[in-house]
């Protein structure tokens, strides 16, 4: 199998879908000519191979970028637009939240908006809170959107291809720190269905539910737990909306314990939703209270020791799990 980073995997998905379908085009700030002349970045080389008609560098205008996606998609194109960093989605959010998510409903199902908004997220690169702010729970609070957050290069590729082919607006969130970590990616053509979680490690004692970069942390934690005699199952949600309740509930019913791990801040974070679903539908299976391991309720600080403290790690996870064993 080929070894690709998530940046390269996203790049392959974009490339393959652009070759497959002329209606697919990409747009965003520096998606063509970029300040990062790095082959590991997701849109590297696309301008050269597909030309400026299909790889559109835009002005610094997030509202227009998202509007471009809404308008061109209702005409039948399949835009994949990029918001450089997750916090800047606030500027695009009128188009995403009030328009992309709602216009199909408002049309009584007559109009469709097959668009993808890709954005970089995550803390850990020392840029501070105006670049690092995981807002996936905001997006997941918008019926009409699909929200995808892959944790491995292979998932990123398969899910992005599905997102591009999906007839609904999809918000596709890539953790920047994953751009540079290689992982196996199948050589042959494949897609991964949106709305399907993946059990990344089978276990019997506790269900660790996570997504995006934190899946790697969950697997590391599970390793440490194994050395301590705890057999953890790691459920990678991959998609937050629509949520794969079945995989989640099956896992928790089996293990009887739940720990949800995400990098986003705690209050109003998506872990609350996971816990609520489990409390509603699998409370009787629980042998212990569920736990959330999340970023603290603060903006992401810049100073290196504070930023490290902000990001949940395997030790925080192990401690939480051992606390309910």
């Amino acid at each position: 199998m080929q070894q690709l980073t998530m940046g390269q995997a996203v790049n392959q998905a974009l490339r393959e879908e652009m070759l497959r379908d002329f209606n697919v085009f990409i747009a965003g700030e520096g998606v063509g000519v970029s300040i990062h002349d790095n082959p590991l970045m997701p849109t590297a080389g696309l301008l050269k191979d597909f030309g400026p008609e299909r790889v559109k560098d835009t002005p610094v205008s997030e509202a227009a970028i998202a509007g471009l996606a809404v308008g061109s998609s209702v005409m039948g194109l399949r835009p994949v637009v990029e918001i450089m960093f997750n916090p800047f989605v606030t500027i695009a959010s009128d188009m995403i939240v009030n328009h992309a998510a709602k216009l199909r409903y408002l049309s009584g199902g007559k109009s469709t908006f097959p668009l993808v908004v890709r954005m970089k997220s995550g803390a850990g690169f020392g840029a501070g809170c105006q670049h690092s702010h995981n807002l996936e729970a905001w997006m997941a609070h918008c019926p009409g959107l699909k929200v995808v957050m892959p944790g491995t290069p292979a998932d990123a590729k398969g899910l992005l291809k599905s997102a591009i082919r999906d007839d609904n607006p999809v918000v596709f969130i890539e953790d920047m720190m994953l751009y540079f970590i290689p992982g196996p990616v199948p050589e042959e053509e494949y897609t991964i269905p949106i709305g399907k979680a993946d059990v990344k490690r089978v276990g019997s004692d506790v269900s660790i539910v996570s997504w995006s970069k934190m899946v790697g942390v969950a697997l590391k934690g599970a390793q440490i737990l194994a050395e301590n005699g705890v057999d953890a199952e790691v459920v990678d949600l991959r998609t937050l909306l629509p949520l794969d309740r079945e995989t989640l509930l099956t896992s928790v019913r089996k293990t009887g314990r739940l720990v949800v791990l995400h990098e986003a801040t705690r209050t109003g974070g998506f872990a609350g939703e996971i816990c609520a679903i489990v409390a509603e539908d699998a409370l009787n299976s629980l042998k212990a209270p569920f736990r959330r391991v999340t970023g603290p309720d603060i903006p992401v600080p810049f100073s290196p020791p504070l930023e490290r403290f902000y990001i949940p790690d395997e030790n925080n996870l192990v401690e939480a799990v051992l606390g309910i064993m």
């Binding site: 560098d57 002005p59 916090p87 020392g126 840029a127 105006q130 810049f302 100073s303 020791p305 504070l306």
Partner: protein, 320 residues
């Protein structure tokens, strides 16, 4: 109004300090773990901040953007505290919470800095509103790039500021690039200053590498603002001599273009003018440069010797 000898000296001093300070950061950010994150410098653009701030009073407010070291130093921020903030130390202007990208120095009325492109422009309308509301004899200056003029926030804020005659100067530092996009690749309009017409305010194009010209334009706009006549848009034509940030290798900036603009560097220009006009001697210049070198060395020493914040510090300052 042409700058006095004192003003010229002040501007030269600020420009030399900014250059020396950033040259040091350029070096330090190459050392792993020393100065983390992005490093966005204003090399070649120093005349803008220096010229503008020389025309301001202490009470005047500035709202800088991501390329802010020059703005902050020109407004009188302490170099040691700015350096310590870049290092993420507890003694930094913002206790290490910000880092280089959004340093606020309220002590010198640099009330807030934002790295969200265009984010500062409506905020400047707000600070100017407060200045007018409370009949203060001060104004606001907002610094932003040519790229920021493509954001909706620019247009909304200019319209509002003009409608309400707010005492604000919008200073567009047109350094020819917005990220990797050259001016003509992100807007059809040649002079951003032309956009002022759409909001019925004066728009002025200034040679942004001529500190004296920037100063004079700012003095005019400030008088206008204080007279209750409303905002001005000043576009300073300058050049980003380095990459967007220090990890950008400028593959898209033509070599000849960079070299040609280095020839127009605002620092030797002002220095040369002052020497030629006999406003300072070579000895005085040497002494000034030596003093600035020491200031920056001291700033680095202060930053290096300062501790990182305790983890408990992560929870402070979220709320009052």
């Amino acid at each position: 109004m042409q700058p006095s000898k004192e003003k010229l000296l002040e501007m030269l001093r600020t420009m030399l300090l900014t250059r020396c300070f950033e040259d040091k950061l350029m070096e330090l950010c190459q050392i792993p773990g020393k100065v983390p994150g992005m490093m966005i410098l204003c090399t070649g653009q120093e005349a803008v901040a220096s010229g503008v701030c020389a025309a301001l009073e202490q009470d005047d407010v500035i709202i800088p953007n991501h390329r802010s070291h020059g703005h902050l130093l020109a407004k009188g921020a302490d170099p040691g505290e700015v350096m310590a903030e870049c290092f993420g130390k507890i003694t930094g202007c913002n206790k290490g919470k910000s880092g280089t990208l959004h340093i606020a120095v309220p002590e010198v009325n640099a009330l807030c800095t934002t790295t969200v492109v265009g984010g500062g422009i409506p905020i400047a309308a707000g600070t100017a509103f407060a200045q007018k509301y409370t009949s203060r004899k001060s104004i606001t200056v907002c610094f932003f790039g040519d790229g920021a003029a493509d954001e909706g926030s620019f247009h909304e804020a200019l319209n509002l500021a003009s409608l309400w005659d707010l005492p604000v100067i919008f200073v567009c530092e047109n350094n020819l690039y917005a990220g990797a996009q050259r001016h003509e690749e992100h807007t059809r309009i040649r002079d951003i200053a032309d956009r002022a017409a759409a909001y019925a305010m004066p728009g002025e194009v200034v040679d942004g590498n001529d500190a004296g010209a920037v100063y004079a334009a700012t003095v005019r706009a400030r008088e206008r603002a204080l007279a209750g006549l409303g905002p001005t848009l000043i576009e300073c034509k300058t050049y980003r001599c380095r990459g967007h940030g220090e990890s950008d290798h400028q593959v898209y900036q033509p070599r000849e273009e960079i070299e040609a603009w280095k020839e127009k560097c605002p620092l030797p220009r002002l220095r040369g003018e002052m020497l030629a006009q006999g406003l300072m001697t070579h000895e005085e210049l040497d002494r000034l440069e030596e003093e600035i070198r020491k200031t920056v060395e001291e700033a680095v020493r202060f930053a290096e010797e300062s501790p990182y914040p305790d983890v408990a510090e992560a929870f402070t300052d979220v709320y009052v």
